[in-house]
Amino acid sequence: MARSSRSSIARHSMAEQEPSVRITNFDEVALGYDLTTAVEEAQRCLQCRHSPCVSGCPVGVRIPEFIKALREGDMWDAVAKLKDKNSLPAVCGRVCPQETQCEEVCVLAKRGEPVAIGRLERFVADWEREHGIRVPPVASSMGKRVAVIGSGPAGLTAAGDLAKLGYDVEVLEALHEPGGVLVYGIPEFRLPKEIVKIEIGYLESLGVKIRTNVVIGRLYNVAELLESYDAVFMGTGAGLPMMMNIAGENLNGVYSANELLTRVNLMKAYQFPEWDTPVRVGARVAVVGAGNVAMDSARSALRLGANEVHIVYRRSREEVPARAEEVHHAEQEGVIFDYLTNPVEILGAEGWVTGMRCIRMSLGEPDASGRRSPVPIEGSEFEMVVDTVVMALGTQPNPLAFSQAPGLERNRRGAVVADSATGRTRLERVWAGGDIVTGSATVISAMGAGRVAAMDMHAYLMGQSRGPWLTAAEPA
């Protein structure tokens, strides 16, 4: 096919549940491509020799190669090319912000719409799942034990890579289900938990042992782990919810997004009383913040029966940090966006939320980071009538895992100091990666950090350690 005819094919949309239907259920919104559509979409790829998409991907997925195999009908080869760099493709195909990564730099994006790389990734991964996942050969045991703390994307990736290399890997997870944010945070309607389970099952088939209900900092601490393991990877994420510290925040009806989403996703409160954990979402809900977490909270609230759900955000639409698709879906579903608005107090009666006092904001001069900072407009305060407030203001690393780990340096935001090229922390034989180092970021960047650390752990444990251990004197 000629280049010109490839680029004349329009990008294929993906089937979705109708907004009016999907807000009444927790089933997946996006339904994926069928084989014909996937192959047609794959035809659009120009197979650029310099493949900018690969450099746009934090883990360097072999994008043109898997797309080529797909359009040539060699599905198993497509799977192999895709999974060479990404052990959780069904997850990434669904939750990665492709529009700021691989698809942003796609050559086709310059003149029209980029190849739908995320949708193709999802298609190939789903195809494999439907046809029976094949387990690659694993190196024989090297007799070295590695502990991975936390079973989010960072920990799972590090564990999978190390297991393939022949290490005895144990993942130690605080909750009763592995997966981190993938199971407790991101809702079923975006990422079915069955898919996460199967991808984790694949890692277990590589020999990764997962021990749930193990809270590091309480049951064991890092110092103890160093006695019984040759190396430790910390991937405990950024699970500590931030609150605004305004009056009324402890009223009944005020949730952290983490609590709301954990009740709904991990504990299946949307199936109460079939499942035992309840959640209380009223008729009028305000979600404060505009990241993915806020979108997930707002859309969950709609599905739990709220009549009116507001996103309350102190900046404007331009600055919204959530994935474009999430904002689009939220808008389609009827979520109301109150931009340039900031809560100042939560109002209540008899212990329960009755409303929220807010102030209007305007955008001032750009700050050091280049973002225009919001400033309150005097005298613009007003009251919103709401009965549920969800605080989705971001999270910081949970300090629990650090108790009894002297030597692990952390920065002002509570994040562990680690070398981004190796994952090494200041404490010898301890590596870290993912949200624990960067603060709340993305699934794929956490996976990338897990991979980087796994490679360096391997080099270190093989006695080929590159360079000295990170010391306090060096810059991180």
Partner: protein
Amino acid sequence: MYQIIAKETLTPVTKMFVISAPEVAQKAQAGQFVVLRVHEKGERVPLTIADYDRDEGTITIVVQEIGKSTRLLGQLEPGDRLASFTGPLGRPTEIENYGTVVLVGGGLGIAPIYPICRSLRAAGNHVIAIIGARSGDLLFWEERMRSVTDELIVVTDDGSYARKALVTVPLKELLESGQTIDRVWGIGPAIMMKFIALTSQPFGVKTIVSLNSIMVDGTGMCGACRVSVGGRTYFACVDGPEFDGHLVDWDLLLSRQRMYRDDEAIALERFSQPESQSNREAR
């Protein structure tokens, strides 16, 4: 793992379970708690550790059957397994030689003060305990408590057993008696802990309480367990559960404990009347 080794009915509403959890037992200390799930669809239920045996590898918990989850737990028998069991969680009690200490345990609160008394006594304190219940048939562990205390005072609200008094009455008498009391602990229902704290406050004796707020993860990740102490918000599961009772915002705690009252009633009703439920579904 997490197998029930022994079960004992302590009172008509309280049962004791000894659970096999060798790693947790190795690490457990007085004042800490566990979070368990009875079955796959179950809630994460926080329960204070009532005893631990490092040699046997067991944790003892005492539960009052009030909601669906605790009733389901109450139906389990030795040999049955829990879906999950996580611990130890929370900060341990600060054990030191304070001198003379008074521990007040009301109702179910008798269970958690037992290991605290034992540790405080081992640390050299003169340990006085006050245990109480609404009536004599609801009282348990009197002999056990005697074995870890120097003085034990037993009361019941209705006088059906031992002395007729609320637990705060002998506490006040001790504080007024002129003997030096260096620290007080009070564990029981929130409203009782509030009155224990109010009783000791005028005497300026530091009083530690164990806050039983609603919890989900128990690891500091959700904030369901928010409490206000001295005007600051804390997460009871990781910053506590023990706090200075004189600084606790009791009304907030009591209010937050009621957040799911209606849902708890629904769950319990469905659980207690499976027949009527299936009838409803059949129609």
